[in-house]
């Protein structure tokens, strides 16, 4: 019980930082109201090899070409290769310099790319991995992200459901989920959503009375028989009916966006719609299916050449799909502030 309490306090502290930086709470004055960064976009997906880095780099290029200053950040710390998909040799400076206090600001870790408007913060090249950075290091990154001199940040996340990865996903303004129309990828994506979903709820201090129920729900072999979010909801309504509405509100705030990669057929495309339908029913969340990318051999050819597909194969369908997604995201979710 003591351990659990520590965790709650720990979460409470993080919440204030995480959600305040996101501007999502009103119980604290918004920190750094005049930050330069307009929005943080994060690309995750649970499984490795589904094309997160490729889609991240392509989106970043597409955004930069539309005239925004973009910094792509590789937070796949143990297996960084965003620089390769952007056509940049392993830069001298990386995130480790910042984490190990060799650099004072994240701005000092930035490397230029060959694409105008697009910059890169490479992932750590040493033994540091996302699983073994500590809470202070994570906080340090999160607190400094929005001080970077850029319009948009694009975070490439690693595979897996490590708590650090999940937190980077959650503090983003726009969370993109990449998956393939394959059982393995879908399975991992659901696990990723589930983990992020419960973690998201545990970041709300006022829901602390129901944290034990959430903990139980996170354990698939719990004694309370809570198997699905729907069970969780029933249990909350039974034990803490006053928090039911708030729980629902928090759930609706969690809106990851879905991108299907490597589709080959119409059936593959439709899987995205089915996943949207199923997650709506199972989790009660609205996942926006923002688009899909065709399976295209030019993608691996570009990787072989260590060049971005966006510049190597400008006429490929991948490029037009990515551009359309970027336009859509800007239009629908982009930050329209013109005071900067």
């Amino acid at each position: 019980m003591e351990g659990r309490l520590d965790f709650i306090q720990d979460t409470d502290l993080e919440t204030r930082e995480l959600l305040r930086l996101k501007g999502e709470t009103d119980f604290l004055p918004r920190a750094q109201a005049h930050t330069r960064v307009r929005q943080i976009w994060a690309v995750g997906g649970g499984k490795g090899g589904v094309g997160k880095s490729l889609i991240s780099s392509s989106l970043a290029i597409s955004m930069a070409r539309m005239g925004h200053k973009v910094v792509a950040i590789d937070l796949d710390l143990g297996a960084a290769n965003l620089h390769t998909t952007l056509g940049v040799d392993m830069p001298d400076r990386s995130l480790s310099d910042f984490l190990l206090n060799r650099a004072n600001k994240l701005d000092d870790c930035i490397t230029a790319t060959s694409i105008p408007n697009l910059y890169l913060i490479a992932g750590a090249s040493d033994s540091m991995s996302v699983a073994n950075i500590n809470t202070e290091q994570k906080q340090k990154i999160i607190q400094n992200l929005r001080t970077i001199d850029a319009d948009y940040l694009l975070i490439d996340l690693g595979a897996g459901t490590n708590v650090n990865t999940i937190d980077f996903f959650l503090i983003s303004d726009l969370s993109l989920l990449v998956l393939l129309p394959e059982p393995t990828s879908i399975e991992n994506a659901y696990r990723f959503i589930k983990t992020a979903y419960f973690r998201r709820l545990k970041l709300v201090p006022s829901l602390s009375p129901i944290f034990p129920i959430i903990d139980a729900a996170m354990d698939p072999k719990n004694n309370e028989g809570i198997k699905t979010p729907s069970d969780l909801f029933k249990e909350v309504n039974r034990l803490h009916p006053e928090l039911g509405t708030q729980l629902k509100d928090e759930i609706t705030k969690f809106k990851p966006k879905l991108i299907l990669n490597q589709v080959r057929t119409q059936t593959d495309i439709d899987i995205g719609f089915s996943i949207k339908t199923v997650t709506k029913r199972y989790f009660g969340i609205d996942m926006d299916y923002i688009g899909y990318v065709d399976y295209d051999s030019s993608a691996w050819q570009a990787v072989r050449r260590k060049k971005p597909i966006m510049t190597e194969f400008p006429t490929s369908k991948v490029v037009s799909s990515i551009d359309r997604m970027t336009q859509y995201l800007f239009k629908r979710h982009g930050h329209l502030r013109n005071d900067l």
Partner: protein, 278 residues
């Protein structure tokens, strides 16, 4: 969804003012998402749960797809406010129009342009088909690419050879694998269309995957009139006041700008009658 007791609308994840077309699309989507071999269920849902949900969706569709049952359901569950109820009656229910003789129908004498509420609704609907509205509408109109295509119902040769056809409505008969213009393409055409002639209306209806029977069923317009509208066979149509009402119903069903469609159609109708008389 999280709630325990769900309305039929929630089960299909549609708004209470969903059109017949939306209800149908939503139902097909649910059926496909929860079918036995659906990958989207993998590792998340168990078979009994799926089966139960499919049954719920079927029940929901059975009721909501039937105008009478739906109205009863709505009343019973207090889903529509009085004003909304009136509005929907005004739009959909043509069965209150008296038979052909007699001109005392108030409903039909209201000029469509004053139907402000319906116009707003219409423009929302156009947005919907264009895939530019909010999150809830995304499934039926893929924002990034056209939605799945389905085989086009054959256009009869007679229709194709009609001289009055617009060039863009002519269909290549040589290629049997011709697929329907997707909703997105059709929506683009609708935006640039000005005449809304019968064959174009027919094309839109087929692109929306509605048969003549379904159209007649939902609008309460007789099949022969639906056909006459699409063939611009003005002699087969009743008095102008009814025709105008029919065309408005027809256009609303297809989410077309009904005032423009009916004005254009009625101009041609009157012209044809005048020519015949002189």
């Amino acid at each position: 969804m999280i709630e325990q007791a769900q309305s039929y609308y929630e089960i299909l994840d549609i708004p209470p003012d969903a059109s017949v077309e939306e209800i149908r699309t939503a139902y097909l989507r649910v059926k496909s998402a929860y079918s036995k071999d659906s990958l989207a269920l993998y590792s998340l849902m168990d078979a009994t749960e799926n089966q139960r949900y499919i049954e719920q969706a079927e029940e929901a569709y059975r009721v909501l797809s039937n105008t009478e049952k739906r109205r009863e359901y709505d009343r019973h569950h207090g889903i529509l406010l009085a004003s909304e109820d009136l509005e929907r009656d005004n739009i959909i229910h043509f069965d209150r129009v008296p038979p052909m003789e007699g001109l005392d129908s108030e409903d039909l004498l209201i000029p469509p342009t004053t139907d402000i509420k319906a116009t707003q609704k219409q423009s929302y609907s156009m947005d919907h088909w264009m895939g530019t509205t909010d999150v809830t509408s995304e499934i039926s109109s893929d924002p990034i690419r056209p939605p799945p295509t389905e085989p086009y119902s054959n256009i009869s040769k007679a229709t194709i050879n009609r001289p009055s056809l617009q060039p863009e409505t002519i269909v290549e008969t040589q290629s049997p694998s011709y697929e329907s213009p997707t909703q997105t393409q059709i929506n683009r055409e609708i935006l640039t269309e000005t005449e809304f002639k019968g064959p174009f209306l027919r094309k839109v209806r087929e692109a929306r995957h509605l048969s003549i029977e379904e159209m007649a069923d939902h609008t309460k317009i007789k099949r022969q009139y639906v056909r006459a509208i699409e063939e611009e066979d003005f002699n087969q149509l009743p008095a102008p006041v009814y025709v105008r009402g029919f065309v408005i119903q027809y256009a609303k069903m297809l989410r077309l700008p009904h005032d423009r469609v009916s004005n254009a159609f009625m101009n041609r109708y009157h012209l044809a009658k005048k020519n015949k008389a002189s």
